[in-house]
Symmetry: C2
Subunit: 321 residues, 2 copies
């Protein structure tokens, strides 16, 4: 591996000169003659010099590495990619740390590598387990303290898009199929607000959790008795369950009723018929994550970003009425 001294030797200048040139400091403090600057730059290039960022970090005490601590569920790749690409744009790198050995061990690993910042995407349940000594860390972090680091996404406004779309397509009797859980409730709120805005009566059905999935036993009752024009689901996954049940019963969508999901999950792009849904901007979210932690690293503070609003993805499950 070629070092600064090697360049200095070959170019016939001192190590300091090389350092100054390579760090662009010749423009400010130090005035180094144009030809020498060029000579050094060319020699470095020609020798294939690549600065050792670790040595650099040790001496400056500043690292451009950001640790992401998370369970890295399958759907998170776009988020990670967004964060990573934005990081690279700013000369930073991402180090991934899994929660496999617990949150405290994960933090320890981040410290061991003296990362410049930590972004944790973890449940508040885990936040509570963090060893207090890690909460007054010298390393800038987001997501370790309770109720920080929630990814910025406006559930309410995003859900509204779906309801607006259904109404615009001529549906009036729209049922929201939700869950008694925080995020589902926010989406429900968006639905209710739009319905009321149009003077329509909100109708809501709730599933309960049933070993990892949700129970949709009331489907037959809903279709036979409540007969909605359209069903807006709090999530794509629920919509898929409904689609499967309908397929079994040979009930066609959107012939019998229109269907709207939420999430724009990979399956919504492949299923038959293609599911109308709301895209959650995971990639953009990753970018924002980076900007937050970067601001914190650079200026010691970060501003809460305006939560993102999703995008309506029209599909084949919504009929024109």
């Amino acid at each position: 591996m070629i070092r600064m001294v090697d360049i200095a030797k070959k170019a016939g200048v001192s190590r300091t000169t090389v350092s100054f040139v390579l760090n662009g400091r010749y423009k400010q403090d130090m005035k180094i003659s144009e030809p020498i600057v060029r000579l050094v730059l060319e020699t470095a290039e020609e020798m294939g010099y690549v600065k050792d960022e670790n040595a650099n970090a040790i001496v400056t005490g500043k690292s451009r590495v950001i640790a992401i601590i998370s369970a890295f569920d399958d759907y998170m790749m776009p988020t990670v990619r967004g964060c990573m690409e934005e990081a690279q744009e700013h000369g930073c790198m991402l180090k991934l740390i899994s929660l496999k050995d617990g949150i405290n061990e994960a933090i320890r690993k981040a410290i061991a590598f003296r990362v410049g910042g930590i972004y944790a995407i973890i449940r508040s349940q885990l936040q509570k387990q963090i060893d207090p000594k890690y909460l007054q860390l010298e390393i800038p972090s987001i997501g370790l303290k309770l109720h920080t680091g929630k990814m910025a996404f406006n559930q309410i406004e995003s859900a509204k898009l779906g309801t607006e779309y259904l109404i615009q397509k001529g549906h009036r009797k729209i049922l929201f199929w939700g869950l008694h859980e925080e995020i589902a409730k926010e989406r429900e709120l968006g639905y209710v607000q739009v319905m009321e805005k149009y003077g329509l009566k909100p109708e809501i059905a709730y599933s309960s959790r049933q070993n990892g999935s949700w129970n949709i036993d009331m489907l037959d009752d809903i279709l036979k008795n409540r007969k909605p024009d359209a069903i807006q689901c709090f999530s794509d996954l629920l919509a898929f369950k409904i689609m499967r049940e309908c397929y079994k019963r040979k009930i066609f969508i959107p012939d019998t009723f229109s269907l709207m999901g939420f999430g724009h999950t990979p399956a919504s792009r492949e299923c038959a018929p293609l599911l109308a849904t709301i895209d959650e901007p995971y990639f953009e979210t990753g970018k924002i994550m980076f900007h937050q932690i970067y601001e914190l690293m650079e200026h010691g503070t970060y501003k809460a970003y305006t939560p993102l609003i999703g995008t309506l993805i029209p599909g084949e499950t919504v009929a024109e009425k």
Copy 2:
């Protein structure tokens, strides 16, 4: 950040002693008294000492960081997770480098951080673009040189599982729907071998690429004239396309014909009806990736692993005949 000297001072011993104790070297070369060992260990623990891995890497010239270079497509999260978890098991960390700025810039970044190893998951197209100077790198790497780093997966044997399953379910007239491309051809081979083993006549249809997807215009002809009991697709994505076309025509699956995919993509777990398919072990693949690069880092060589065979995922698209 607390350092070794701080421990030495507090414990009243020398820096060397601390270093030896903390690196477990007191067991071999140096004999350090039991009470001192304990004293040092306790002091370190109590002061919340975390060794600086970067400083360590600089002086030993060995880094336990592995760079993964890839486009990080959405489906790759399980692979990354498998690799990461296995890495952590062995005290290593993963650094992700995107291909956003090109393969050479990605390699440069890996070098800049003096990573211990590089695993690139890139197309041979990109491998050809690599600056030759990076091919005689001092850093152990897999996937940079042409035709290395292919993830270990036995397409042929995995595809066989699907055909065997269809036959076992009573199907005889099975059509393989493939593509004139390498991986699809391997899967086709598996199908052909099983068909011949049972004395059945292989029948194959080929799609051609059509702006990013595949054309399935021959579907009607196949259903009307060739009338297969079952169709085995070279990939889930093709199966989904077929399912969508059938839905439009109100042709039911598996009533009219059985359908088998390949890949166990997220959509296959949600679509109506649930698609029978072959699981590609991405998580396991990630683990193997780690072991390969780790072996290379530790012993300068790695053995080709026996390619993994997928797992049959029964679904609702295959009927009992």
